[in-house]
């Protein structure tokens, strides 16, 4: 076994174990953190396949943004573990059925000619840029599918905003342009307050108004 295979098996073991812990961990925050570890190991394996763009994008998008928001929500929720476990035995047959179907599909795909029959692609040199190749293909050969995917994502963004946008009555909002336009004179008024009349009827009492400014 050469060095690269040893690294592959190391990361693959971490990936499978952390994947298992995602579904077996009792604490949902632990489960989410194990999912982060699984993403990281998957990125490392992609890196071994010289797909550095996909590997780094996986870390950047899923670890850096998606899982942060996911953790955000999971930490805020007050999760009752007993109610969560209640339906386990009732749902188990359905779960096993879905899992079996997925395993079957993966076996069918991976045992197909394209995966098992074809020889492994040759390792490229250090000056081979996976990112450049991907960009060149994406913007020439697959331009229309790429643009379609972009439009789909845009529609999803608009739909998400439309779903959460509500007009509520009686909400006070800041108008930032208005706030920025404010000058000192609009907020502060400097007053000259005359001195108070001294207490009592002392002989050195001064009439109000006579006081020095």
């Amino acid at each position: 076994m050469d060095f690269l295979s040893a690294i592959f098996y190391l990361f693959a073991t971490i990936l499978v174990l952390s994947g298992l812990r995602v579904i077996t961990a009792r604490n949902p925050v632990h489960a989410a953190l194990f999912l982060v570890l699984a993403f990281f190991s998957a990125a490392a394996i992609w890196m071994l396949l010289e797909a550095e763009f996909l590997a780094l994008t996986l870390v950047l998008v899923y670890v850096g943004a998606v899982m942060v928001l996911f953790l955000f929500v999971v930490m805020m929720l007050d999760i009752n573990f007993d109610t969560l476990r209640e339906g386990f035995w009732r749902h188990l047959p359905v779960g096993l059925l879905v899992a079996g179907a997925m395993v079957l599909e993966m076996v069918l795909v991976l045992s197909a000619e394209t995966f098992s029959g074809a020889p492994a692609p040759e390792a490229r040199g250090f000056d081979y840029s996976n990112t450049r190749e991907l960009g060149a293909v994406l913007y020439t050969q697959y331009l229309y599918p790429f643009e379609l995917a972009a439009v789909l994502l845009l529609v999803a963004i608009v739909a998400a905003i439309a779903l959460t946008l509500r007009r509520r009555e009686g909400v006070k909002r800041n108008d930032v342009a208005e706030q920025v336009k404010v000058r000192r004179e609009d907020r502060v008024r400097v007053l000259q307050v005359p001195r108070e009349t001294p207490v009592g009827n002392r002989p050195d009492a001064v009439e109000p108004g006579e006081a020095a400014p």
């Binding site: 953790l71 930490m75 996976n130």
Partner: protein, 344 residues
């Protein structure tokens, strides 16, 4: 690499082991100076802010207070690490480790000179973005594992803030790679070399993106005026309120190492890295360190000048100002580059 191999009898040691050892030496050669720079950045911060506020700053330990950071380090090392009851022990200890890991690992792709770089990987910029986005886990995990309301509030604020500013940062970097045509930091700096010195840098065509990148960098490192994750006045010390001794010191180290990293990246991406600003004068690492020094001074200057942002204003600045500005400028740069008026 060859002179190093000559020193010891290379035939005795297998080559992979030698390569690993040599890489470790190079990693240490980057990490140890960064740690030293962090120590003296804390000193610089206290001195600079002191003078801005008409005080003297530390001046008791050693000449002009120069041994103050060492005294602080010894103090923090000898203090007790208190783990709160009801906290999640493993994650509580893991959080500072995640913070410092993210702050140090990104240095692997920072170029210090035309030949001086630890790993000239092809997708260097993506690597930097991916690793800096990991830093937020230290904050979130610390806030959650402490089992404390203030720490948790700090973590939540930090999560929302970092996600918002990371998008603006990423868009600002898209402008850089449109100009350079490469994701490698070495190529990006080399693309800024030109006959006009300072005017050939990315700073000129990408000025709005530089401003957005640097301010987002300040927000990403949770520095004033974006330090709502700490917010002493409302949530005590935010996410690290329960940390003491060395665990606290590591958060501190990570914050300052991140500041130095953001400065180094801004210098490489927009200010020409090691290139000299005046044509005719040779470039080199002193230029890079001078640029980093100036940007670090700006970090301290901001802290002494601006009051802390209100939370909704931070969100507004990130989402409604920076992201539209970067999107428009990416379009401008794209059109500009295709037109005959592109000079760079």
């Amino acid at each position: 690499m060859q002179p190093f191999f000559g020193l010891i009898d290379a035939s005795m040691v297998p080559e992979p082991a030698l390569l690993t050892a040599w890489t470790l030496v190079k990693i240490l050669a980057i990490t140890l100076p960064v740690m030293g720079a962090v120590a003296y950045l804390t000193y610089a911060e206290r001195k600079v802010i002191g003078y801005i506020q008409a005080r003297i700053g530390p001046n008791r330990v050693g000449p002009a207070g120069l041994l103050q950071p060492i005294a602080d380090a010894i103090k923090l090392l000898t203090k007790e690490i208190i783990i709160p009851t009801g906290s999640n022990r493993t994650l509580f200890m893991l959080a500072p480790v995640i913070s410092i890991m993210a702050a140090l690992a990104a240095w692997a792709v920072v170029p210090f000179g035309p030949e001086t770089i630890l790993a000239d990987i092809d997708a260097g910029l993506l690597y930097v973005l991916a690793l800096t986005s990991m830093g937020v886990y230290g904050v979130i995990v610390a806030g959650w594992a402490s089992n404390s309301k203030y720490a948790f509030l700090g973590a939540m604020r930090s999560a929302a803030q970092i996600v918002a500013y990371e998008i603006a940062m990423g868009f600002a970097l898209i402008g850089v790679l449109m100009v350079a045509g490469s994701l490698s930091l070495l190529d990006i700096v080399n693309a800024q070399a030109g006959d006009w010195g300072l005017l050939s840098w990315n700073l000129v065509p990408l000025f709005p993106l530089f401003i957005v990148y640097f301010i987002s960098g300040v927000a990403e490192t949770n520095r004033a005026p974006f330090d709502v994750a700490e917010g002493e006045s409302e949530i005590v010390a935010g996410f690290h309120v329960e940390y003491s001794g060395m665990t606290f010191a590591i958060f501190f180290l990570a914050e300052y190492a991140n500041m130095i990293l953001v400065s180094a990246l801004a210098a490489c991406l927009f200010l020409g890295g090691w290139l000299s600003p005046i044509p005719g004068i040779p470039g080199g690492w002193p230029w890079l360190f001078a640029k980093m020094g100036f940007l670090l001074f700006c970090f301290l200057w901001f802290r002494a000048t601006f009051p802390r942002y209100r939370y909704d204003q931070i969100m507004r600045l990130g989402w409604k100002v920076f992201i539209p500005v970067t999107l428009v400028w990416i379009l401008v740069v794209g059109a500009w580059k295709l037109s005959p008026f592109w000079l760079w």
